[in-house]
Symmetry: C2
Subunit: 354 residues, 2 copies
């Protein structure tokens, strides 16, 4: 089963990384869809909720295009809270969806985790495609395949004038949110982030932390996405985000090169200390670990350090989150025990870095 | 020449260390003496100053007891400011003496640096004996030998009623200050230092930082000495300090053992991080280095770390002070250059620690 593999694997598709993907960690396309003749999730009663769930489940039994890579249905009755939190830490479902005790929640996952559709989160269906690096067009294409497949079997709530109808008016229209996960340590170190984020806002983009709305930008990781879903086509939204992303990547790259020359020792000091602490700490919390791993990642990107692949760092960042730690030791842990376990896992993974 | 050896050597006598000297780093005996028929240093003019200098210099030409281990005279005309600062960093003269541009300053040093007599500091003569570990009686005995030798050749300012006369009334009487350098990380970590230092005050002791009056207790190093010099014999002063020191050592030892059990992970974390940062930093200032080396020293003392001898840590702490760094590279350095050089020296010295 896909779900078992995904729960137990260190990796899902977006964590893979290739040459030139040092600044854009991953791209995400999300399409919000609802069924026409059922109340939207906020007003869903038991009966209608299960009806929605059953219809989606039935669709997953049918033959589907090979490009979807074997999407499977997993109801929340099969997934305990720890499993759901693991999916959230892997970015496959939202933290809210993970915490909801809805008996008609579910997730549709394909084999490599590139397609993940939440059922009965804020909307009946939230189709998500997550890919490594800057791949918005490819992500949109894959999400569209999933959308087409579902739409061929289910009747969507769609209005000729407004487009796809959604629970929150900010999603009405295309129902599309395109986003990229960025790693911007040089901008942060040179104190330019707030100015640049302000400019981004004026370009119709919004910026959040690693785990979406309301989370902070720990470890210099930022999620940037489009603010509006109406008045632009899907292609325009993706292209616009692509263009803004490329500009930010360019700025980050210029700053990194400048730092390498002007702040050589300070940079080596920051990166070296981060590695030294990660290698020797016995107790480390999640925020500090992420911050130091961000510094190590920068060291790898700039050639100051070597001995680990960026994909392994992506995996590591996820594997030290609380639910992953808990699954790893297969028992309840208090905060201190988690911080100790986290330090052990990190040391095992980074021991090859020099 | 002794002076050249001492300036160029990483080590002087007090830095040696043996079993059981983990908490008391060193013991120091100081005797303040003045010549009878010359104005005391604060009122000394050129003529009288040089007269004092010449008399002391002449005494050093005479045959002296073997126990003094070849004391030699070095006038400040032979020692530039960098050399004098190096002597101060090795605790052989005071920082004030090092900075004074007095043309009649001098220091009498023996071969291993265990005896160091400042000439024309606050008093005409300040005989000092510095030994490793808790050795107040041995230190007093050696200082007394030096005192006897000088007194046999020079006439001291001495009053039947008040005892030895000195520039500052707090030194009148025995002219004796006995002190110990303590390393008290467990007291600091458990927040008990201020209470204990208050109690020490009530026992007639005073506590200062690593480089004497007005310096802070960086790196958990404290200098504890007697406050009064009158109304007690020399033996009583030494015995009293010895007894108080033994009590503090015992308290520190109890706290260390308790921490080893109750705060095992926190202790290993603190020690490990210190080692990690020292091993990987590219830029490190003097205060941070001392603080981290204090943690590493605690790790060595408690068997959490190994691979370096305590004497090497004593040498290292001195060798990363500004004047030692400057002498080492044989050129003027700015603060950043010093911080970079300091990091290099530390890494070279601690590379064997595991």
């Amino acid at each position: 089963m896909s779900i078992e593999n995904i729960l137990n694997s260190a990796s899902v598709k977006w964590m893979e990384s290739e040459e030139g993907q040092d600044i854009v960690i991953s791209s995400r396309i999300r399409l919000a869809r609802n069924l026409m003749d059922l109340p939207f999730p906020l007003r869903l009663d038991q009966k209608a909720g299960h009806e929605c769930l059953q219809r989606v489940k039935a669709v997953c039994q049918e033959e589907m295009p090979a490009v979807l890579n074997e999407v499977e249905f997993s109801g929340f009755d099969q997934l305990n809270i720890l499993d759901r939190r693991i999916l959230a830490e892997k970015h496959l479902i939202s933290p809210d969806h993970a915490e909801s005790n809805s008996s008609f929640g579910a997730v549709l996952l394909n084999k490599d985790g590139s397609l993940s559709t939440m059922v009965n989160e804020e909307d009946h269906l939230r189709i998500q495609c997550l890919l490594p690096g800057l791949q918005l067009a490819a992500g949109y294409e894959l999400a569209q395949h999933m959308d087409d497949f579902l739409e061929s079997k289910l009747e969507y709530a769609f209005d000729e004038r407004y487009g796809y109808l959604t629970s929150c008016p900010t999603n009405v229209g295309t129902g599309l949110r395109a986003s990229v996960m960025l790693h911007l340590p040089a901008m942060q170190m040179t104190g330019q982030t707030s100015q640049i984020l302000q400019n981004i806002g004026q370009l119709g983009m919004t910026v959040r932390g690693l785990y979406g709305e309301g989370t902070e930008a720990t470890g210099n990781f930022f999620q940037m996405s489009n603010q509006t879903t109406m008045g632009q086509t899907e292609e325009e939204i993706c292209n616009h985000l692509q263009a803004v992303t490329e500009q930010i990547v360019e700025q980050e790259r210029v700053l990194r090169e400048r730092m390498k020359i002007e702040l050589k020792y300070q940079l080596e000091d920051k990166v070296g200390r981060a590695l030294g602490i990660l290698n020797h700490a016995r107790i480390i919390n999640s925020t500090e670990a992420l911050t130091l791993l961000s510094d190590v990642r920068l060291g790898i990107d700039l050639g100051i350090l070597s001995g680990i692949q960026p994909y392994a760092l992506n995996q590591l960042i996820v594997s030290i989150r609380p639910a992953h730690l808990q699954k790893d030791v297969a028992q309840e842990m208090d905060a201190l025990q988690r911080d100790i376990k986290r330090a052990e896992i990190i040391q095992e993974q980074i021991k090859g870095i020099k």
